[in-house]
């Protein structure tokens, strides 16, 4: 690591997930190895081949005041709730508006609003549309509302790269602070995509698990019997801050955001590149950018979504990038896959893993598939040693986007 570069640390965490309405409840559920996946009860399940999902444990519309909730798409509700938690957790830092930024992403945006507004339009005419329809459906809506909430003027951004969106947002936030554009940036991902059209479309791509008789066991990364991902929803946001700014105000520091790696497969619009070259490139860049060697990296929170194609390629890429000593887990086995929200919550989990020095397990891994040469932490949590250690969060997206973010203890 170059000595003169701005160091960036994490001072606040916020999340609302299928396992809990905040970071504490979600984290304890992760360590207990609990599944957040449940059967769907809506009438529309009869029309789709997948009848379960990781529905948010706490309905965001119940948390927010009604006048606020009705103007927000569900993805915006999740983002605003997680942002408020993270901001409070960071001690509500005093920072000039011109030095405060936001980078909050969603993979799909306000699709629930898009679809229900189109129904309203067809059935009742344009006059019956909410005047907030556009800000509810625009993909930058969650970032914009969080920016308004905090009064951020250094820049409000929403990077979009499907399921890598949340991690890309955190990477962009890191670069904002390194470039000197901001001292504090709220960043992460959100998604609210549990809608019959999305389920049908992902099922049409043959990407989803149809283990309808055992929803809690459907998300099973690296297990030989895995048959696709499980859709989840929620948001995870973190407060990134320059080390100097955090120390000056006496903030509690969870971890350092030490390195960023990004690459593109340029191989296929949905299929992962079989050699994992792009994934290796992203992880290696994150490691180098952080000034680390493979030995320093003890843990990877993997993207592993429980699809037949991706999980093993990623595990092999971890081994190629860092070595076989790495303790790997996929928390998606418990939360399901939050698409653009994944990089947000999984960064929160990676940071908690470092600060608590314990790796949450991968559940449902009963029969490890061939070709995995790193250790998958399964069934129960695994302690990490003391001293200076590092971990990497991976997020990959349809389109061939690869993002790896390296965190270290401080």
């Amino acid at each position: 690591m170059s000595k003169d570069r701005v160091r960036v640390v994490v001072t606040g965490l916020g999340a609302t997930t299928p396992l809990g309405g905040d970071v504490a409840s979600t984290w304890s559920a992760l360590l207990e190895g609990r599944s957040g996946i449940r059967p769907l009860t809506e009438d529309w399940v009869d029309s789709v081949p997948v009848k379960f999902a990781g529905v948010a444990a706490v309905d965001p519309a119940e948390v927010l005041p009604r006048p606020e909730a009705r103007r927000l798409d569900r993805s915006e509700q999740f983002a605003l709730i997680a942002a408020r938690q993270a901001w409070q957790d960071a001690g509500a830092p005093e920072v000039p508006a011109e030095r405060l930024g936001v980078c909050v992403s969603s993979g799909i945006g306000g699709i629930g609003t898009t679809l229900s507004a189109y129904d309203t339009f067809k059935e009742r005419g344009w006059q019956r549309l909410s005047p907030f329809t556009v800000p509810m459906l625009m993909p930058n809506g969650p970032a914009a509302w969080v920016g308004l909430e905090l009064g951020a003027r250094a820049g409000v951004h929403a990077t979009v790269s499907a399921c890598a969106s949340g991690a890309e947002a955190i990477g962009y936030a890191l670069e904002m602070i390194r470039a000197g554009r901001a001292d504090v940036v709220m960043a992460g991902g959100t998604e609210a995509a549990i809608h019959p059209l999305n389920v049908a479309a992902f099922a049409a791509a043959r990407a989803m698990s149809t283990r309808n008789d055992e929803p809690e066991r459907a998300s099973r990364p690296w297990d030989r019997g895995r048959d696709g991902f499980v859709l989840g929803e929620g948001a995870g946001l973190i407060v990134l801050e320059s080390y100097e700014h955090a120390v000056a105000r006496g903030a509690r520091i969870y971890a350092e955001v030490a390195g960023l790696g990004m690459s593109a497969d340029s191989h296929h619009i949905t299929q992962p590149e079989p050699e994992g070259r792009g994934v290796v490139m992203a992880m290696t860049q994150a490691m180098t950018d952080a000034g680390l060697t493979g030995r320093d990296i003890l843990h990877v929170n993997a993207h592993a979504t429980s699809t037949p194609a991706g999980d093993v390629i990623e595990a092999q890429a971890v081994e190629k990038s860092f070595g076989s000593h790495v303790l790997v887990t996929s928390t998606k086995s418990m939360t399901g896959h939050l698409l653009g929200g994944a990089g947000g919550i999984e960064s929160v989990f990676t940071i908690k893993t470092l600060s608590e020095r314990v790796v949450p397990p991968t559940i449902n891994l009963e029969d490890l598939d061939d070709g995995v040469d790193v250790e998958i932490v399964c069934d129960k949590p695994r302690d990490l040693p003391g001293g200076q250690i590092a971990a990497v969060n991976n997020s990959f997206g349809f389109g061939g986007h690869n993002v790896a973010v390296a965190f270290t203890t401080v």
């Binding site: 005041p65 009604r66 006048p67 009705r70 006059q127 005047p131």
Partner: protein, 79 residues
């Protein structure tokens, strides 16, 4: 049967509360939506849409801009 002023006022109070969070009791005939209740133009559109559903009266945009007070809306619905 035409609604009484009290019935319309109660309905409007509920709508304004639902949309803005302002207590229904503060929605009284002499209040101006913009100056007294601090309601912005997009919220007025939401209130007009909800009032149309509640009272079965179309409020065209060129009429809406003339409805400054709660009493104006009551009169429009009654007319």
């Amino acid at each position: 049967m035409a609604l009484t002023e009290q019935e319309i006022l109660a309905g409007l109070g509920k709508i304004v509360n639902e949309i803005t969070g302002i207590p229904a009791a503060e929605v009284t005939p002499e209040k101006s939506f913009v100056d007294d209740l601090d309601i912005d133009s997009l919220s007025m559109v939401e209130i007009a849409v909800a009032a149309q559903d509640e009272f079965g009266v179309e409020i065209p945009d060129d009429q809406l801009k003339h409805l400054k007070t709660v009493k104006d809306v009551i009169n429009f619905i009654q007319s």
